[in-house]
Amino acid sequence: MKILRLPCDERDVRSLKAGDAVEIHGLVVTGRDALHKFFADGGAAPRELKGAALYHCGPVAVRDGGGWRIAAAGPTTSVRENVYEPRFIAGTGVRVIIGKGGMDDATHEAMKRCGCVYVQAVGGAAALAASCVKKVLKVDHLDDFGAAEACWHLDVAGLRGVVAMDANGGSLFREVRTKSAARMARLLKGAAAWKNS
């Protein structure tokens, strides 16, 4: 398990390889559909994202005295942000994207160019992810985006995931897809002689 402390610099993320299990410590900012649309329309993304992680996550946040407590914080599906992400990466200087399911080739190109990795979080493991949040540092866009879409600035300790797309072009998803497609072709050989395409 590799330890990744945020914020970090380009060299730190370039040294990570697809397949590395990582434990993330430090600043993670949540942002999903509303933030990406806002940014694409000319709005400003949180400055703190520079060197830190963007987490595709709509947490369950509960009022706790004067502050906030995160009750659940699992990843949401990342592909919806594909159209926005290349410009978002270049514009914010974000070094890590945490999410679920991976992103497209254009996004991966931007990750390679700018020095950014994609970490697949464990989908559904929301209780454990929430327990890694040491502190809610602040929240942006609570009123205009709503609690699930707001930018929660989280100080995390030991948030776990696997580097699925690295900053040098390596992709665990692609690797697994290529292998599983080859295996599938063998499994289905002779299933029907008239298969199209």
């Binding site: 398990m1 397949g19 299990a21 709509g58 947490p59 369950v60 509960v62 009750a71 659940a72 914080a73 699992g74 599906t77 679920k100 399911g101 991976g102 697949q120 464990v122 989908g123 559904g124 493991a125 929301a126 209780a127 454990l128 992810a129 327990s131 776990r160 696997v162 699925a164 665990l172 998803f173 690797e175 697994v176 897809r177 292998k179 599983s180 497609a181 295996r183 599938m184 499994l187 289905l188 299933a191 029907a192 008239w194 298969k195 199209n196 395409s197």
Partner: protein
């Protein structure tokens, strides 16, 4: 305890703890993966997450899913729509369920999770009350095929059924929160196909599989897709298949994809 209180307790237990058979299957899967691999990291994270949720009686996944209640016909007078809705609204207020229901026409949140037909209630011949919670990520990976399917080379036979099931598994890579569980219905019309496929998810993984189910499971796991689609030996925890009569003109294969967070529980309402 009133019926509403018993149903609220059912929601609390279902949302915070996985059934024993699913936990055992995950533990077996952990043993099968290479130590230190991403697959073993993912499965041990899942197990740790479940232990934490069970201890704290909190939702084990933030997507508390579509709620389906399967209610014994004989309890119709006691476990009414009103009682179920009250329990669901109360569980939502207690934070056991996320505000997870959108009025589709207006786009507004239905804050108590109760709308027309939601939660779903099925009066049936099962004993007691069973609650199944199925998240959206997995529901989006459920599929229906109509045989013959030229793109898959799937004909109207069991080899064709197998091609459909394996295709559904491959298409879920990275998205369905693997290791998953498949409920499959072969036959029926389109609507019964989805209903029956989903009902198969109520069957215990401890149940002895048929020869065909075992073959599907072994084939799917040989694809190497692995937990969260990151590679590994465990892509599925189980396959449960049922047949239904069909019209001569139709041959549907319906696959209900369930994530590892297969939250289901049964109580006997007094």
């Amino acid at each position: 305890m009133t019926a509403v209180e018993q149903l609220t307790e059912l929601v609390r237990r279902t949302t915070s703890s996985l059934p024993g058979d699913v936990v055992r299957a995950l533990e077996r899967a952990l043993g099968a993966e290479r130590k230190g691999s991403s697959a073993s990291v993912v499965i041990s994270t899942i197990l740790e997450n479940c232990a934490l949720a069970e201890k704290g009686k909190t939702p084990l996944c933030q997507d508390t899913g579509t709620l389906s209640f399967y209610v014994d016909e004989a309890l119709r007078g006691k476990v009414t729509r009103k009682a179920v809705n009250r329990a669901v609204a109360e569980a939502t207020r207690l934070g056991l369920l996320r505000r997870n229901c959108i009025d589709t026409a207006s786009g507004r949140s239905i804050d108590d999770n109760c709308g027309e037909g939601a939660p779903a209630i099925h009066y049936c011949s099962r004993k007691g009350v069973t609650l199944l919670m199925k998240g959206g990520g997995s529901e989006n990976m459920s599929r229906q095929y109509s045989l013959p399917d030229a793109s898959l080379g799937a004909g109207r036979d069991m080899e064709g059924v197998r091609a459909c099931v394996l295709d559904a598994v491959a298409k879920a890579q990275g998205y369905g929160c693997a290791p998953g569980i498949l409920g499959v219905c072969v036959g029926g019309d389109r609507a019964t196909g989805f209903a029956v496929a989903k009902e198969q998810l109520l069957r215990s993984l401890d149940e002895k599989p048929t020869e065909f189910e075992s073959r599907l499971l072994a084939d799917a796991n040989s694809l190497g897709i692995g937990p969260m689609g990151l590679g590994g030996r465990t892509t599925l925890l189980g396959v449960k298949l049922a047949f239904r009569p069909r019209l001569p003109a139709s041959y549907f294969v319906t696959v209900a994809y369930m994530c590892w967070a297969c939250r289901r529980r049964t109580i006997l309402v007094k």
